[in-house]
Amino acid sequence: MIESMMKTRLFQWVDARTDAGSIIRSQLTEYPAPRNLNYMWNFGSLALLVLVLQILTGIFLVMYYKPSAEMTAGGFTVAFDSIERIMRDVNFGWLIRYMHAVGASAFFIVVYLHIARGLYYGSYKGPRELLWIIGVVILLIMQGAAFFGYLLPWGQMSFWGATVITNLFGAVPVIGDLISEVLRGGFAVGDPTLNRFFSLHYLFPLLLAAIVGGHVHALHVVHSNNPEGIDIDHEKETIPFHPYYTIKDAFGVAVFLIPYCYFVFFNPEAWGYFIEVDNFVPANNLQTPAHIAPVWYLTPWYTILRSFESKLLGVAAMGASLAILFVLPFLDRSKVRSARYRPVYRQMVILFFISVLVLGYCGHSAPTATLKLVGQIATAIYFGFFLLLPFVHKFEKTKPVPERI
């Protein structure tokens, strides 16, 4: 199909003026990929798909959404009303809105698995350090975009979530209050906050699209890693991306869309995990909800924050837990990439995955003394992983790595 498209006269005309053909050949159809990639390598293309879905559904939402916290009858606001109008009166508005809300969670599921893949098979190690670092930038911008987006429906969780998080910045010494004031556009979360979050919510995904371009470009310079984690012979051990990985990615897309559409059509709230129950209550600055928790994808970091008595320490730890991802490629000194041949690292990274899940669980639940302790232990394991990493190569007996895949 792609070949026949490239033979058309229209394409030839464009090609003569842009060299599009050689870009498509080198970056897509003939891009040499290792032949032993497993299904964990599907999540990159899925992340791209979800990003496109978010941008497309977002553009349609913006056509009807109104970012205003002005009160309307019944304790609602213009913003809240506009979303209910999308849900009830706009043709297929419910579909667009649910695709967007479920898409946000789907995006994080896919990207977290994509990152886990990179950790397990050592894809962050040289020569792919910069590729990994760009990925961490993408993660941070995604989290920002989702956080800004969650304010837009102007429900109770929108409002109080934004209040709690913007408050955090107040803990930063000296300039803290200034930062939270600039974020909010005032002393408290209100109409100006909604407007600037809306603006940033539109901007961040477009930024993401540009950075994802850089991510893919960096990938095509240093090439894909593979489950064995070894450097491969680009002549003998690769297969052209098309048709091998185009069909495999297409199959992955179909499999991904099954749970995605299940949630969109049958269970959009996902028992309160994707859209929280309290967010159907209009924002009310006089009534604090009994239990404020961010949406599930931000809860691991929220637990790290809550694990410290001092607010400043908590904020610092939360920042550090994300920032440390940037230096991961330089912490790990082992020559072997894949956890398949690194017995100690494998146990460590699996424990790390479990600690993130536990952190996420603790951040979602109402705080109790036991959960707090569990969260603190998980926090210790989280950081322990990074602190131990620089020393692992000294005592780890790696298994013999194959010459060829």
Binding site: Y244, I258, A339
Partner: protein
């Protein structure tokens, strides 16, 4: 425990996630502030919804609004399917585009009940327990065992037990043979409000069945194609 590969760690993680998911799910089922909610057995068939609409307009709308439900929608939603004449009678002076708003002003409500009754358009989505919660509240009026809260304001399912809503279906002190009648009204209005919370839910699920069916087929075809294309590659 020794974890040998990615597959195994994924399986373990999936198990952990499932475990984590079940806890809040079972918690929400038993939400009711110490009392497990009654199971209302929500039914959204045409007759129940019509009966629920009647209870809503005759009783609840004396105090509550459902401003996101427009009079015109009562005709437009096939699940309700009112005729133009029926809607005209209900709406009086209101236009078809107007939402169903109570005559009770917030100021009057405060004066009479001390609180503004919440809009019910989204009530089943905004409370844990959804329709079961509404049903339980309506049939949850009792005498305060501690004798502190005045009669008619004590509700075992309401957080804190002191509710400003005066027993709308006259549950307190009803006779035995009225039970079925009152429960029927509570059931119908709880079902109606569950429908109003997301009025496109049936259309959504109808379309969803086709979408999922198509996707299973697509996934199967692509899987066959993938096997065919990859059959000569050693990997």
């Amino acid at each position: 425990m020794k974890l040998t590969n990615m597959k195994q760690s994924i399986r373990l993680s999936v198990a952990a996630i499932c475990l984590a998911l079940t806890v809040p799910m079972s918690a929400s089922a038993s939400e009711g502030h110490g009392h497990a909610l009654k199971d209302a057995n929500i039914q959204m068939d045409h007759d129940t919804l019509r009966k629920g609409l009647e209870v809503f307009t005759n009783v609840c709308m004396g105090c509550h609004s459902a401003k996101y439900l427009r009079y015109g929608s009562l005709m437009a939603y096939p699940e309700l399917g009112l005729t133009r004449e029926e809607v005209d009678e209900l709406r009086g002076e209101h236009s078809l585009m107007d939402g169903m708003v109570s005559e009770l002003t917030p100021a009057d409500a405060i004066e009479s009940y001390g609180k503004v009754p919440p809009d019910l358009s989204l009530i089943t989505r905004a409370r844990r327990g959804a329709g079961n919660y509404v049903f339980s509240i309506l049939t949850g009026y009792e005498e305060d065992p501690n004798g502190k809260i005045p009669e008619g304001n004590y509700n075992i399912y309401y957080p804190g037990n002191r509710i400003a809503m005066p027993d709308p279906l006259a549950w307190m002190g009803h006779s035995e043979d009225e039970t079925a009648e009152i429960e029927g009204q509570a059931h119908a209005v709880a079902s109606f409000l569950t429908f109003v919370g997301d009025p496109h839910q049936f259309e959504r699920e109808r379309i969803g069945v086709w979408v999922l069916g198509f996707l299973f087929l697509l996934a199967f075809v692509l899987w066959m194609l993938k096997r065919e294309i990859w059959k000569d590659v050693k990997h």
